[in-house]
């Protein structure tokens, strides 16, 4: 299945892109997707258990992903 991963701020800078289309096995979790992202060039800056959101809501890395999900990997926020 295909899941779209979004990267922001220093994470996007490190991987050189803000969007990655990940091809994952059915039954993959968020943690599996993070593992795939960390294996990419520059991906080692990602924490092994980063703050993540799926389809605009904060989520736990144990959560199962569905085809078409939008997975956001969220650096420490600094709004305000």
């Amino acid at each position: 299945m295909i899941v779209t991963a979004l990267l922001f701020a220093s994470y996007a800078d490190a991987l050189g892109t803000a969007t990655v289309e990940l091809a994952l096995n059915s039954g993959a979790t968020i943690a599996d997707a993070i593992g795939a992202l960390r294996a990419l060039p520059g991906g080692s800056v990602l924490p092994s258990s980063p703050l993540v959101a799926v389809n605009l809501a904060y989520a736990d890395t144990a959560q199962l992903l569905q085809a078409g999900d939008e997975l956001a990997v969220i650096p420490p926020v600094a709004g305000g």
């Binding site: 080692s44 703050l51 605009l56 736990d60 420490p76 709004g79």
Partner: protein
């Protein structure tokens, strides 16, 4: 009750007028402003970036929570993104209530939740020409590895609770 993410300058006076109502006895306006230095370094400006659809959703949720908690609908929170100069407001919050204690508390609630939850990042531009994302190690992820899981759990449990209170249509 209104919230928004915008690239345009925020008109604080307009927000003050917008929350005014004959039943209110107190208005508190908060402005977060870009300042000329941070942690001892001289700053020329700040670029704010957002995961915009999620930031809009979270900000809507924060204002809804505030409305329920402090019993007033006269609330506005606006966060600006893009490149801001020194002295420009990155966030403006207006809260009006019949009584002042609740107006202050509602205002404070919104800014603290914004700082904690809004998926927004800032890159400071320094006088020496360098730029840096604030709060994020440039090369290692060490700080994040330690803090993110705790933050994530907090967010996850908060989401569950709030989703039941304020259901927001799923984007799927």
């Amino acid at each position: 009750m209104r919230s928004g993410i915008t690239t345009a300058p925020i008109d604080s006076a307009a927000l003050l007028r917008e929350v005014a109502a004959p039943h209110n006895g107190a208005t508190v306006l908060f402005e977060g402003v870009v300042r000329e230095q941070n942690e001892g370094r001289s700053v020329n400006g700040i670029e704010y970036a957002a995961y915009r659809p999620m930031a809009e959703r979270e900000l809507t949720r924060i204002v809804q929570e505030c409305c329920a908690q402090f019993d007033t609908a006269d609330l506005i929170a606006v966060h600006r993104i893009g490149r801001l100069d020194i002295g420009e407001a990155s966030v403006v919050i207006a809260a009006a209530h019949p009584h002042r204690a609740q107006a202050y508390e509602a205002s404070r609630y919104m800014i603290e939740q914004i700082k904690l939850r809004l998926p927004i990042w800032k890159r400071e531009e320094y006088a020496d020409g360098t730029r840096e994302w604030v709060g994020q190690g440039r090369e290692s992820g060490i700080g994040n590895r330690e803090s993110a899981p705790a933050a994530r759990s907090a967010y996850a449990s908060r989401n569950e609770e709030y989703d039941s209170l304020f259901p927001i249509p799923d984007s799927r």
